[in-house]
Structures are given as structure tokens and as C-alpha cells.
Symmetry: C2
Subunit: 394 residues, 2 copies
């Protein structure tokens, strides 16, 4: 985004910080260094495609967070974060960028010392895309007397229950993904180059829906056909769509970085009995899973109900069938906290949001019919009204 309109009030960011400090306190931490761009944005509002260089947010137990990153991106921070004091935005020299002679984490260590944290207990997100093995070693070298420990997921977990405003953004993203699926239903036809269809899906997603603009999804459209659809994460090329082939579309609408993923499967031609059988099994299993999607239940209850129903119909799915969603940056639109799978005993709460993702990969193609959901006071709501079935065009 730009500076046109802030995503959240300062009060909302402050509530998030209070929540986060409670978790820091429980973990015995004096400070955290947050390099996950989704967590950085959630804590401060920072938004920019600058996460290909090292950057972070430093939060101690007092005062406002500090944004730290490349000097040229400090300008983007000034325009997007809620903190108004320039001291809370700290840039490092460009010569540290992708330079084998020196490392930005040396600068961050100096900054943490300047903040009096040289002997502090500092949490870092060790299991994150944007905090590499070298980053960790360089930070440790610069902070020989600090106690640096892992706080992966600490902020992610605070994000699990969404605010009203966050849910509103996800509802807007839901309208957008509905429109994207509508575009697929309208335009896909035999002989159409796959990339031409993807171009239309993208354009619809970014134009937005209901008057709300589309942001970039954290994952590009995945849209494999036929045998390619036995694999879950292939993207596209220019092979024309063919009769008697299934294509699944795993796509998301996005608004102000909030993501609403939803998948559907399109069949061009007569749907074979095998796919109809799989569809019926998946739809029944979705119903069984959704019946468990209510406050007080555990995340695994949804997976267990889903899997039991699926197995009864003679199908098996050995991967998780859902995960938490919300604000996100590439490469993942999940929150990397709660999963719908056996053993995940997280208690569902109102305001939690998930992608219930009961995809089934068959030996000759894929079937994806998925639902983004919101846990409500007395059950759940599906974010989207997209028709829940295999779509057929002849």
C-alpha cells in the first residue's frame, strides 16, 4: 500500500503490542527482534516489498517499537508505520546490502547495544525465511553477553484471533476471490492458453471487488491441469486447456495484505465417475469437518471428522487439511501456527480464521474444493459464497 489511508488505528497497534508483551513476559524476554514481514506489519503497519534485504522490528517492554532496515526503506517505513517519532525508524547504510564483506546484523547488534540490550534476554525468530543461519551467527557475535533465544511463532500466535477491522479486510478479500473464481467460470474454455486465463484471474484480483482494491496475494495462482494437477504447487505455462481434463485453481483474494485463499476445480467436458465419487466424498467430509468448526473444539477435531468421513468413502489424505490465515507476505499465505491435523489440540476461539483446505490428489489429477472460514461465537461462517462443487464446462 501507500500512505493514502492507514490500515489500522494507532490504538489497534497498541493493543497488539500489549498482547505481544504479555507473551514476551511469559517467555521471560526483555526484547524481541521480529524479521517476519507479516509480523512486522502486524506490529507496526510497515508495508513494502523490501524483505529481500535484512530488516526487523525491535520491541522491548517499554515505549514504541523500532523499525530497522535498509536506509532507503526507512523512507517507506516513515510513510507506513504508526510510530511518529523518527527515532523509531533506523536505517543502515546501503553498503551492507548483499555484501560478503559485512553483514547488516552487525549493525543491528550495535543498535541493540545502543538500546542498552547488550546483556538482555532477546527473542529472535530462528525458524523464519527472513532470519537466516548467518543472520543469527552475526547477531550472536555482536551480542556476546546477551541471552539470545528462539521466539519463532511468538508474534504469529498473537495474530490468531482477528479484530473486527481485520475480519472486515478478510471479507473484502473474500469478495475478491469470489470474483476471481467467477472470472474462471466465465472465461475458461478448451483451447485457451493457460497463461491467458491466469492473466484474467490476476487482473480481476487486483481490480478488486465491491469497490475494494486488490492487493497481491502472498502466493501466485497455482493452476495445473491433468497429470500436472497430481502435484500441488505447479504454476502455469501456455499449454492450452483441453477437453476431458481437470484443472484446479488455488488462488487468493487479498486486501491490505489480508488474504482469503480459496480453491476450486474445473472440468472441461464430461466429469468421469471417479471424479464425481471423489467430489461426493470431499463434500461430505467438508460438511463433517465444518460441523466441528466451533469455539471450544480443538483444531484436530475438524481434521479427524474430515478424515473419518473421507476414509469411509474409500479415500485418504495424509496431509493437513487446513491452517490459520490472515495478514501475509510471500512466500506463504498461512500464519504457520494452527494446523487442522491429528495432534493439534489448539482450542478454537471466535475470531480465528482458517483456510479449510481438504485438497485431494488423485493418481491422474487433483481435486481442490476449499473453504476459508471464520470461527464465530456459536460456530463458524464461510467467508465465501462460491458454489461448492466441481465446475463443469462443455
Amino acid at each position: 500500500m501507500t500512505t493514502y489511508e492507514k490500515n489500522f488505528t494507532t490504538a489497534e497497534y497498541q493493543r497488539r503490542i500489549v498482547k505481544t508483551r504479555r507473551a514476551m513476559d511469559a517467555a521471560g524476554l526483555d526484547a524481541i527482534v521480529i524479521c517476519d514481514p507479516s509480523n512486522m506489519s502486524w506490529l507496526t503497519g510497515y508495508d513494502g516489498w523490501s524483505f529481500y534485504v535484512y530488516q526487523g522490528v525491535v520491541l522491548t517492554m517499554e515505549g514504541e517499537p523500532v523499525w530497522w532496515g535498509r536506509a532507503m526503506d526507512a523512507l517507506g517505513a516513515r510513510r507506513t508505520v504508526f510510530m511518529e517519532n523518527d527515532d523509531n525508524i533506523r536505517g543502515y547504510d546501503d553498503t551492507f546490502v548483499q555484501n560478503t564483506e559485512k553483514h547488516p546484523m552487525e549493525e543491528l547488534a550495535r543498535l541493540l547495544c545502543e538500546f542498552g540490550l547488550e546483556k538482555a534476554k532477546i527473542g529472535v525468530e530462528m525458524d523464519n525465511y527472513y532470519y537466516s543461519a548467518t543472520a543469527h551467527l552475526k547477531l550472536l557475535e555482536g551480542l556476546p553477553d546477551a541471552k539470545v533465544t528462539d521466539c519463532s511463532g511468538l508474534v504469529n500466535w498473537q495474530r490468531a484471533v482477528k479484530s473486527e477491522r481485520e475480519i472486515e479486510y478478510m471479507q473484502r478479500a473474500a469478495r475478491i476471490v469470489e470474483a476471481m473464481h467467477e472470472t474462471i467460470r466465465e472465461m475458461a474454455e478448451p483451447g485457451m492458453r493457460k497463461n491467458d486465463l491466469i492473466a484474467e484471474i490476476y487482473a480481476t484480483g487486483i481490480r478488486g471487488a465491491d469497490g475494494y482494491w486488490g492487493d497481491y496475494p502472498a502466493i501466485v495462482p497455482m493452476a495445473p491441469s491433468g497429470l500436472d494437477a497430481t502435484a500441488p504447487h505447479l504454476t502455469w505455462d501456455d499449454r492450452p486447456m483441453e477437453v476431458n481434463e481437470a484443472t484446479f485453481f488455488e488462488i487468493a483474494g487479498a486486501h491490505r495484505r489480508y488474504q482469503c485463499p480459496q480453491s476450486r476445480t474445473l472440468f472441461l467436458g464430461e466429469v468421469p465417475a471417479k471424479y464425481r465419487k471423489a467430489e461426493k466424498a470431499v463434500l461430505n467430509a467438508i460438511e463433517a469437518g465444518l460441523a466441528q468448526a466451533k469455539p471450544g473444539n480443538q483444531a484436530q477435531d475438524i481434521a479427524n471428522a474430515f478424515n473419518a468421513t473421507l476414509n469411509k468413502a474409500g479415500f485418504e489424505k495424509d496431509s493437513r487439511c487446513g491452517y490459520a490465515i490472515g495478514i501475509s507476505y510471500p512466500p506463504d499465505w498461512g500464519e504457520r501456527t494452527i494446523s487442522f491435523r491429528r495432534g493439534d489440540t489448539t482450542i478454537l476461539e471466535p475470531g480465528m480464521t482458517f483456510h479449510f483446505m481438504p485438497a485431494l490428489w488423485l493418481d491422474d489429477g487433483g481435486l481442490e474444493i476449499t473453504e476459508p472460514i471464520l470461527i464465530t461465537e456459536d460456530g463458524h461462517e464461510c467467508f465465501c459464497n462460491t458454489p461448492r462443487e466441481i465446475w463443469v464446462k462443455k
Copy 2:
């Protein structure tokens, strides 16, 4: 991509492996574990948006590489890598995905032991998005007798000089980014919502050009206007384009994962004298830089000529003005090796490809006029024919 048509011949992958093994030998390594998706793809052909979970390519001094990743993605590997033997594709159980109880790197350590590497010298890409601090610790725990060392950049450097086929893909991507800029020139106008323009840019880029399909660029379009354009990495929202405002468009065409980035600046209305002065300075400095873009010169020669010319005109740019480009996955379309900046003494060779990126950020906006270039036998070629000037629409 899908399996429609392989990107490169097996012979080309084998040449790359020979090159890489020479570097491994020089570094005294028995094996490398490559988690960078661009490097994985360059070595094996693997293509899929699966890099949000742990995966890698293992290369020893003998035999073909081994793709390792999530079991469901092994299917995508089978469909995209050049290795034909199923033993060279190894998947791990889905319960390892984003699970705090266990880590995929435990599995990788077991696999390396199975390969007899428990006491080997193993290089890992420690300074990479897709190899976290935790990943490193878990791998070390599982390989207590191995000598695990940093090989960040080892494969990236082998990619610097492009093959004919790679250059061909970048030329196709160049046609695509030209078409994207053409769309901007045609469609941008005062009052147009920025996201509507971005939708058109995306659609053009993915439809492709010259009959070649568009792949996803490794970075989304950056297109800030006015004061937002003082910051380099803001994306977009729905603020309408305004008269008397400059907007820069930092975008890339992509084909089969090869990237051709190019930026241009559009002014709606009468261009202020200050911008004309900056334009003149940048264009002269680009000429001065390009004059140094030839085999035998150093990377810094381009930067020094560019900066000296810019300074004479009263402008300064303290960040690097270019970087190597080629195959790429998010979050960066650079190769993270050679930079055009003082101190980079890399000798330019025919077949090297760069984004010469002399962006200038002023106090009230940004000016980006950039050129992707190929070093040739006797100088250089610009990949694109996009008009090199501030574009004006009134």
C-alpha cells in the same frame, strides 16, 4: 511451469553440475545442500511454489543431484527435474510441515547419513531466505560428525555467465517488459485508480509478448506516486493517479523463471524543471556507465563512471546502481552476487546479465530509468528498446 516442455536439455544441466563441482572442489567440499529455489531450479529444473516449506537439492561429487522436499511436492519434482531415476527424488512426511514438535532438517540429516555423508564436508547456504537459523541448528544436531560449512553464493556465482538458451529466455522476458511499459504509456491517465493500472500491467505481463507466455516476476510491481515515490519499495493501493505527479514503475517481464526487470517514470502534466534536470543528469550518467559495460572491465567501473557523471550534475546516489539478474524466485529478482558499486572488482565477461539500476530518489518523488543489459564479446547490449526518458502524459 508445468511439464509441457522442459526448460533446458539434460546436457545443459550436466554442464552446470560440472561447473558447480569445480567450485565445490576448490572449496574442499564433498557435498552441498542447496535450499535457494533459484539455485535448485538452475541445477535440476525443479519449478514449483513450494519454497514456503523446507526443501533442497543435494549434490555430491558423483552421480546426479537429489531433490529433497515435502512428499506432496515430490510429485512436482518428478514432473519438472531432469533426473529420471525416482531414487533422486526424496519426499518427507507431511507431519514435518510447520510443526513445532519436529523439523524437516532432522529428515534431511538422516538422508545425508544414508548417502554416507555423516563425516563429510558439507556446504550449506547459510545466508539464504530458505535456510533459517533453526534449519542450520537442526541439521548440525543430526550430523554431529560432519563438517558443515557455509557455501552461500557458491551456486549463484556459477549462474553469472548465461548460456545461449538462458539469454534467449531473457530476451523473451525483455519483449514482455517492453509490452508492460507500453501498457502503462497507453492506459495511465489522471483519475485512474492505481490498482486498475496495475491489473493491466499484470495481465499484459502474463499474457506475454511475441508469442511467448509470461511467468510471474520474482517481485510484484512497485509503482508509487508523488511523495510515496521517495521510498523505493512501496507497492500500490487505489489512490487515483493525479496531475502533476510522477509515478515510477519498477516491473519485470518473466519467462520460464528468467527475469528482465526495467523501470520507467511517468509524469502526468508538465514536468517541473527539477525533474528535467534530474532526467538529464541520469541519462548522461547512464551513457557514462554503459560506456564501461564491456568485458575485462570491473563491475565498479560502471558505478564509478555513473556516479562521477551524476555528481558533476549536482546529484548523488549512495546506493548501488546495478546487480546481476537471471533465473529467480521471490523475494528477489537479483542473483545476489555482483553489484555495480565501488569496491566490486568482479571482471565483466561476455554472457553476464545485469539490471543497471540508476534510480534517483528526490525529496518529493522518485526517478527511475533503468536498463537490463547483456555483456557481449565487445561491449554490451541493452535487452530492451523501451524509450529512455521521462514519459509525459497531459
